[in-house]
């Protein structure tokens, strides 16, 4: 039975006594999925398990219906870009990718063509014939990405792919991910830059201490957290007056006024009612310049669910 | 009641002068050196031979103690150039061993994790850095070479009197100067090896190999080409020749002292060049 999902079923992995992941179950649909969590939480372990580089101590994994214990089949449609540098220093970027493709059984001509195309995708055609040892950090990152996508995989697993890239290349790479996700592929990446994760991901997986803390679409996840009231930042002319009106609403739990009295932070238990209250206040003649939800992003999710030392 | 706000405060006071700052690195390195147990043990072990030599000197000057043992002994127990040469040879070996043990720790730990930019973003130039390290090594090696040597010499002078001194003062100069040259060369080799190779153990092995292997190479050259000048390639042999010359002792090596001095100078220059190239805050790849 083939599915279009990547499935982890009750997976555990320990390295001797050291914890990798502890009873993880996930179903990852196509699109861009971001893995977010502190260092050492198990992100790289999950990726290594997914690509079959390590075997789980218990449970089973299924990548589009194929198990990683069958790498001959699975690695044909899976590409992996690791966090650490593994390209041999004596090879050129072009040779590195071509050799990898030859292992897939492509002919020399086919391998060179695909390698060149992959290098075009990551804008590395200029430096392709220089040795990897002379590459800067960003260039090595791009070559790793190129080797992961060269064989046109259906599932892309990328460990911190934007690390060390300058803003231009970041934007281009993100566009590349979006294009691939739009074609129905799986793009699974991990990142520490939460604002970017916010913008590009279709779904997010938060992991800490080897266990999954939350998964799903960002807004959906936020709506499920009931411990914390929603936060909105309001910009307006007469904050005190508007705050007084808002306090009359029983869904508002807390209001913090800005020092300059030109805005406030409102905590409310019910978003819908809040939106209605705001409309009423605005139509009654009070000038409201701006309304911004303050905690419907991955940053807030991270702080609520994982926390740690702000 | 009083509540104090005391956290990190930015230092805005006076800064120390050039020499105080220059001595900081040697001070730290010196402390860490003596925290290593093997170094301390080797240092103590290196004092055993000088102790024997001191006993020897004592016996040589108090002939009444062994008067009954016959004439052959008298020739043996004489404090002359040969005696000091034997002393120097033994201590030279200890010097190499100590440098191999302690030297790499000085630079290798800085290079292993790229700490050089942190040093050079402070008011410190590259010669300062090398000199500071060199000072430490030279200081430690001096403890086992010319300092005991000078002590023995003065002990002898004290016991043998003015007359002996006016005849043999060149021996004293030879011991001290000869050792100083040796200590300088060994220190440079140790620093260059540990700048070249990151792992302490391998750098230590490299230092040992430098001296002993080159000695073997020199012998090989001699045997294969049936010449005598091969020994010039070995710094140990070159040094030995120079010492013999200074101490007025016959040498079986048949080398020209000037050539030996030349080799050592060339060696020194090469080592300094290696250090200059390896100890950069930033690597430039063209």
């Amino acid at each position: 039975m083939t599915t279009a999902e990547v499935i982890f079923d009750d997976i555990s992995k320990f390295y001797g006594e050291v914890l990798g992941v502890n009873r993880v179950s996930l179903r990852i649909p196509p699109g861009i999925t971001s893995l977010v969590g502190p260092n050492g939480s198990g992100k790289t372990t999950l990726m290594n398990l997914l690509t079959g580089l390590i075997l789980p101590d218990r449970g089973s994994i299924s990548v589009l219906g194929v198990s990683p214990r069958d790498p001959e089949t699975m690695m044909r449609f899976t590409g992996y870009a690791t966090q650490y540098d593994a390209a041999p220093r004596w090879a050129t970027g072009f040779e590195f990718i071509t050799t990898g493709l030859l292992l897939f059984g492509c002919s020399r001509a086919e391998a060179e063509e695909k390698a060149w195309k992959a290098l075009e995708w990551v804008s590395m055609t200029e430096a392709a014939h220089r040795k990897v040892a002379a590459y800067s950090k960003g260039m090595r990152q791009r070559v790793r990405l190129a080797q992961a996508i060269a064989h046109n995989p259906q599932v892309l697993v990328l460990d911190e792919p934007l690390n060390g890239l300058d803003p231009l290349v970041r934007a281009e790479t993100i566009a590349l991910f979006r294009a691939w996700a739009a074609e129905g592929r799986h793009v699974i990446l991990s990142s520490h830059v939460l604002q970017e994760v916010d913008v590009i991901s279709d779904q997010v997986i938060l992991i800490a201490n080897g266990m999954i803390v939350a998964e799903g679409e960002i807004r959906g996840v936020r709506e499920e957290i009931h411990d914390h009231p929603s936060q909105f930042v309001i910009r307006c002319r007469d904050a005190s007056r508007i705050a007084a009106l808002l306090f009359n609403e029983d869904h508002v739990t807390e209001i913090k006024l800005n020092d300059d009295r030109q805005g406030m932070l409102v905590l409310t238990k019910d978003r819908e009612q809040f939106a209605r209250a705001l409309s009423r206040i605005a139509l009654a003649g009070h000038e409201i310049d701006g309304v911004v939800p303050a905690d419907e992003n991955v940053d807030a999710l991270y702080e609520y669910l994982i926390g740690g030392g702000r | 009641m009083a509540v104090y706000r005391r956290g990190y405060q930015r230092y805005q006071g006076p800064l120390t002068g050039y020499w105080a700052r220059f001595l900081v690195a040697p001070r730290f390195a010196w402390e860490r050196l003596f925290q290593q147990r093997q170094v301390v043990i080797l240092l103590v072990g290196a004092m055993i031979w000088p102790l024997f030599c001191a006993v020897f000197i004592y016996l040589a000057n108090h002939s009444e103690l062994w008067a009954g043992l016959g004439g052959g002994f008298k020739n043996f127990l004489e404090v002359n150039g040969k005696f000091f040469l034997v002393f120097m040879n033994a201590q030279a070996v200890f010097a190499v061993l100590l440098a191999a043990l302690a030297g790499p720790g000085l630079i290798a730990s800085d290079l292993a994790n790229n700490a050089l930019p942190l040093y050079f973003s402070r008011p410190m130039s590259r010669p300062d850095y090398v000199l500071a390290r060199l000072l430490v090594l030279i200081g430690m090696l001096s403890l086992v070479t010319w300092i005991p040597g000078a002590a023995l010499f003065f002990m002898q002078v004290g016991m043998a009197g003015r007359g002996w001194f006016s005849e043999n003062w060149r021996l004293g100069v030879g011991v001290v100067a000869g050792f100083l040259i040796w200590v300088l060369i060994v220190s440079l080799v140790a620093l260059a090896c540990s700048a070249y190779v990151r792992w302490r153990v391998v750098a230590g092995g490299l230092v040992l190999g430098f001296f002993f292997v080159l000695g073997g190479v020199a012998k090989m050259v001699n045997t294969v080409f049936r010449v005598e000048w091969g020994s010039v390639l070995s710094p140990t042999a070159a040094m030995y020749q120079i010492w013999c010359d200074m101490l007025d002792v016959e040498t079986p090596l048949g080398l020209n002292t000037a050539e030996c001095i030349g080799t050592l100078v060339v060696l020194g220059v090469l080592l300094v060049v290696v250090l200059e190239r390896k100890l950069r805050p930033v690597e430039v790849i063209s």
Partner: protein, 325 residues
Amino acid sequence: MTSPVIELDGLRVKLGRREILLGISCRLGASGAGKAIGLLGPNGAGKSTLIQTLLGFHKPLAGRARVLGYDCHRQVREVRARVGYMPETESFIANMTAVSFLRLMGELSGLPRETALEKAHEVLFHVGLGEARYRPLGTYSLGMKQMAKLAQAIVHGPELVILDEPTNGLDPAARQRMLKLVREMKDDHGMNVVVCSHLLLDVEQVCDEVVIMNNGLVVHQADLEAERRSNRCFVELEVIGEDQELSGALAEIGADGVREGGGRWRIVLPPSIEIQSLWALLGRQGLHVRKLTHRRDTLEEIFLKAVGHIQHTPGEAAAEKSLTV
């Protein structure tokens, strides 16, 4: 007029066979003001080379570089005594404890012996390494090593601190801590900070001025507050409710609205229309507001325009558009 912190005058630097900096002239910062300057640019623009030249690691081919009034090549020691540097690459001495390491670095920078010990402890607590300060640096995690690198950069109380990719590899909590420390450095302790980073979001949070480099030249230099003037005519809107008719309704009051899907809209208002009218319109349509904000140019957009990737920032485009609507 206060003197600038960094002053470059036709600076050209050559490394190996390639000329990296092609003649830069600019004045950055103000001495004693406690400001943060962002140094941005694509890879290969010459940012690292510039920093290394300021620290005296490279000799300029032509031109001059001055830091706090001292020449970077001829008065290297004076410059280095007043500067703290946090390199991008890993830099530490594995077998020293954090306290010894900072003591060494402090004394090398010129702190007297007792002061160096005091400051070592103070700064380690300040950066959050208090509990681990007697452990060797080799046992530290990546985040802790970054903090130790920051600590050695500020232990001697420099006037200028140069941070090269300070949040590299840090997880979100550690990144926030690092940025908070940088803000404290400039606000509370009056240090000038140069932050060199690819993460424009971090730079936006912390810096007052930015300098953007490309291909060895400075292509843009700006005061961030002035640049990010919010454009009152360019509005981002997100509504709850049925919004099919909104486009037509907007056209009626003379505004131009683009639908982005999911209830999100981008609207350009004509100069005559106030926000109140928008609220009234939405009320009439039976829509509730989830998000309403005047769009400001992000640093990323300013950056992309400066390096020539886009013609106009969205703010500029909207400003032009509103004049024609």
